[in-house]
């Protein structure tokens, strides 16, 4: 249906010739923009509903009041994926978890997954690569957070936290529900949730358009197999190179997914492309700067190295199984 709309608009209304690169690029642009906008609205609405019932405060209580026998890594990571993430929230969250007595490793699990999997990236992935690739991306993001949190938890890194954070951790209390949020019925809440998800769509719409625009432009003009000359499938170092290039870079998911799409369309294996994307959105210099306020440089290096290695590993794994 959306394709018909794009065809009608570009070939019919604009009267462009179907066989030209330009017309194909414009068609692709309209099709993707409409599709992704609808998906983003639906997914952020869905996540809004989950969050209304299970905000982070509640997750924290859930994690520190129950014995979960290792499953706490899974829950922390899962909710990291569902929670809408703003990079600057990572600091209060991190400290808040520590303060609530949640182990450092479990906190890391949340912190790793949260930026990796978010509603915008999921909507764009679904629109661009389809269901199977999206499930793969989401589940690997969650697994990565679990593995990263578990490994970092085993390292006994508490001593590398900033001294004032260590103090907080020592004084941590198990129960801390000071704020009471009001309980409204679902029907009363729904309009606000939908309004919020519309707000998300509105605020990122321009970036979606720019991202897809760039993607569409490259899509129509870059020849097949173009990138393969540089990062070929057989090149064993392709994944680590892609990840190392991506770590210092920062782009939000909105602008990176259409570019990743072009990579894949022009011959780069999906695993390499996902690894690249995860490193771009999950690890970045701005995030390191923020974390510097609560961690020593050494801990940040250990954190980044562990996550980068895991991303590289998952990139190889995808390239093998896909």
């Amino acid at each position: 249906m959306i394709q018909q709309f794009a065809d009608w608009l570009v070939y019919g209304l604009f009267g462009l010739d179907k066989t030209t690169h330009l017309a194909q690029s414009i068609n692709f642009f309209f099709y993707d923009t409409v599709k992704i906008t609808i998906l983003l609205y639906l997914i952020s609405g869905l996540m809004g509903i989950v969050n209304a019932y299970f905000p982070v405060d509640r997750l924290r209580n859930f994690l520190n009041t129950r014995k979960l026998y290792g499953l706490e890594y899974f829950f922390a990571s899962l909710f990291g994926a569902i929670t809408p993430f703003c990079s600057c929230s990572s600091i209060p969250l991190f400290i808040g978890f520590i303060k609530g007595g949640i182990p450092l490793g479990v906190t890391f699990a949340f912190l790793i997954t949260s930026p990796l999997v978010n509603e915008i990236a999921v909507a764009m992935f679904l629109g661009v690569f389809g269901l199977k690739a999206t499930l793969l991306y989401v589940s690997s993001g969650i697994l990565l957070g679990m593995a990263g949190g578990f490994i970092l938890g085993k390292f006994k890194l508490e001593k590398y936290l900033d001294p004032w954070v260590v103090e907080i951790q020592k004084a941590s209390q198990k129960e801390s529900e000071n704020w009471q949020t009001e309980n409204l019925s679902f029907i009363k809440r729904l309009p606000q949730i939908l309004k919020d998800s519309w707000g998300i769509v509105k605020s990122v719409f321009i970036y979606i358009v720019i991202g897809i625009g760039i993607g569409a432009a490259i899509h129509g003009f870059v020849p097949e197999g173009f990138f393969e000359q540089y990062i070929s499938k057989d090149n064993i170092f392709a994944v680590p190179i892609a990840v190392l290039l991506a770590v210092p870079m920062y782009a939000n998911a909105t602008s990176i997914v259409p570019i990743v799409q072009v990579f894949v369309a022009k011959g780069i294996p999906l695993g390499t492309a996902i690894a690249f994307m995860m490193a771009v959105i999950g690890l970045s210099l701005p995030e390191a700067m923020l974390l510097k306020r609560v961690m020593t440089l050494k801990l940040i290096m250990i954190f980044f190295t562990t996550v980068a290695l895991l991303i590289i590993f998952s990139g190889y794994l995808f390239n093998i199984i896909l």
Binding site: V56, C86, C88, S89, P92, I95, W179, T181, Q192
Partner: protein, 77 residues
Amino acid sequence: MKIKIYSMGCAKCDRLYQIVQEVVSELGCACQIEKISDIKEMMKNDVLSTPALVIDDKLVCSGRVPDKEEIKKFLNK
């Protein structure tokens, strides 16, 4: 009325500060708006996600930017 905005300085946080200022001047109420970016202060009040809006020491909203109507409702309580 004392309004506190907990912010880490991102675009969302700035947006909340701006909207609250607009609402306050529209309502013409004698409110004191304070912007707090100190993490230790945030932890004292147990703010987990920013931007967070606290009115008279009660957390009314966190992790998202409410719209004007919602803020007016918070203020009228």
